[in-house]
């Protein structure tokens, strides 16, 4: 699926939630289920330090697509990270580079990705985009 299609799918899923509790319960579930990063990857180098929660993030290029892993000490943040991984994982650097990320807005989680939130997610999206750019350059060289 394309980044756009995956986003549509997520939006579709979230339409089913009547109230905020269901939505956050689902995020908690996603966060709990995300395998996260093995402790050897929970390094300072992979750490995005928001002052409220930590996000560890790792990306690599494999067979022309980007493999993304992430972890957080806060479960809901980890749940949102799981959604971001679902959207970006196994996509080409070019697709990531050019992606228009709109689902966060539409599923009502915009507040968590606003630059004033120091939870590491904003930096994570920035990082994913940067990796897209960097890997794309690497592939074209």
């Amino acid at each position: 699926m394309t980044i756009k299609e995956i986003q549509e799918e997520i939006i579709e899923e979230f339409v089913g939630f009547d109230d905020w509790m269901d939505k956050y319960a689902y995020l908690i579930e996603l966060g709990t289920d995300l395998s996260g990063l093995e402790s050897q990857y929970q390094t300072d180098q992979n750490l995005i330090k928001g002052c409220q929660s930590k996000v560890w993030f790792n990306a690599k290029l494999e067979d022309g697509v980007v493999k993304i892993e992430a972890d957080s000490d806060a479960i809901i943040v980890k749940g949102i990270a799981a959604l971001l991984i679902r959207v970006f994982n196994n996509q080409t650097p070019e697709a990531i580079m050019n992606a228009d990320l709109h689902f966060i807005d539409e599923i009502g989680l915009k507040q968590h990705l606003s630059p004033t939130r120091s939870n590491g997610l904003v930096a994570m999206v920035k990082q994913i985009k940067m990796y897209g750019l960097a890997f794309n350059q690497k592939m074209n060289n």
């Binding site: 905020w20 509790m21 908690i28 409220q52 806060a74 479960i75 809901i76 943040v77 939870n119």
Partner: protein, 410 residues
């Protein structure tokens, strides 16, 4: 006298705001308190009727503004019972007040090898300025520790204060733990060793009657925005004898007597320390905030807030896996806590969805978190306009969050 809660809540318009369609429950008072219309009205009136730069005009408006601002200084003087009104310096807030003392007092009295003593439970604004000073002067920063209840270990004072100690800076009430420190005892001991003391009263002026003369405090600092006043205004109280000896910190207009390119002579107190156009409308607002709390009475406020604290503490303790950080015998009306297995940010985010405003994180007191080996806490802080019903809403909220997590974890 008791609190007429319905009447009081009408004074704070923000309290009837809806957040995500739910009634706001505001429990982040230790960060910033809300402002009653009695304060905003006065400020608006000055903007609309008397606004003009102070201390320099010949005209009517300037005189009115000057009078308003200087009356506010006298209100602060009386509020903390300072001997002279010129011992009250207006600043941007607690942080700027501490920086002023660290720079100016530090310039005057601290040299290489001297020592500055702070406590382990200080807000960063009462650590970092001293650390910077110590780096500049090659002086040594020493730390008075606290025990696991969050009480300062005063028995360590005799060994920590040496003949090189030049100042002791300590908070009256800890913003991260709620501990009320026995500052009179601390000041008396420090003075017996000839060490002056700076009291960070940012968390106490809104709860306790302060008398700087009875305390014999050498410096005392606080912010307007935690005292139901406006943002951007704060106070440095200093004893005249120190303020007179200390050099000015910032240079500019207002703080001078005579200026030539060869030499400048400085204005007298308090203006020596108030360079530039001050935030005079906020000064006037702070004065109005002081009038407001004094009309209710700090003893009445304190008693009611203690009632809220006791009520909340009991309810908190009944929640499984709840840990309260800060269990000192003398505490002010805030609870710093974690529920085992639930990250403070998750807790804060979910409470926010219910319209409940709490603070999460380190509360600008990282050493306190380090002491307990944690990354942060959730903090609910209560003011006199809060109610037991609101505490019930918080408790139900926390229980709801626990349930959401209980179903998913373990």
């Amino acid at each position: 006298m008791t609190i007429d809660i319905n009447k009081i809540r009408h004074d704070f318009l923000i309290l009837s705001e809806k957040i995500y369609g739910k009634s706001l429950v505001y429990f982040d008072n230790a960060a910033t308190s809300q402002t009653p219309t009695q304060v905003t009205d006065v400020m608006l009136e000055y903007y609309n009727k008397y606004n003009s730069n102070i201390h320099r005009g010949v005209h009517y408006l300037s005189n009115k503004s000057t009078e308003g601002a200087e009356n506010a200084r006298i209100k602060v003087q009386k509020f903390i019972n300072a001997e002279h009104s010129h011992e009250v310096i207006f600043t941007r807030g607690t942080t700027e007040s501490v920086n002023l003392v660290a720079n100016s007092f530090g310039e005057c009295y601290i040299s290489e090898g001297d020592e500055v003593l702070v406590s382990e439970m200080e807000h960063h604004s009462n650590i970092v300025p001293w650390q910077m000073l110590c780096q500049r002067k090659k002086a040594i920063l020493k730390v008075l520790p606290f025990n696991d209840n969050g009480e300062l270990m005063l028995e360590k004072l005799p060994e920590l204060i040496t003949d090189r100690t030049k100042i002791l800076a300590v908070n009256h009430i800890s913003n991260a733990l709620g501990t009320t420190n026995p500052i009179k005892e601390i000041i008396d001991f420090a003075h017996s060793k000839n060490v002056p003391v700076l009291i960070d009263a940012a968390q106490s002026v809104q709860h306790k009657k302060i008398d700087v003369q009875a305390l014999d405090a050498d410096f005392l600092v606080f912010s307007g925005h935690k005292l139901y006043g406006p943002t951007g205004i704060g106070v440095l109280y200093g004893k005249e004898k120190y303020l007179n000896e200390m050099p000015p910190w910032q240079g500019g207009g207002e703080m001078i007597q005579e200026v030539t390119f060869e030499k400048t002579t400085y204005n007298e107190l308090p203006f020596k320390f108030e360079a530039g156009t001050p935030n005079y409308i906020a000064e006037i607002g702070l004065g109005a905030a002081i009038d407001y709390v004094e009309a209710i009475g700090l003893d009445v406020i304190d008693a009611y807030e203690q009632e809220l604290l006791d009520y909340a503490t009991e309810k908190f303790q009944a929640i499984p896996n709840m840990k309260i950080y800060g269990t000192a015998k003398h505490k002010s009306s805030l609870i710093s806590f974690l529920v085992e297995g639930i990250h403070f940010y998750d807790m804060g985010m979910l409470l926010d969805q219910m319209g409940i405003a709490v603070r999460t994180g380190t509360h600008c007191a990282e050493p306190v978190m380090t002491h307990f080996g944690i990354e942060g806490t959730v903090r609910a802080s209560f003011a006199f306009y809060n109610t037991k019903e609101e505490i019930d809403v918080l408790i139900a909220g926390i229980e709801k969050v626990c349930k959401m997590f209980g179903a998913k974890t373990v």
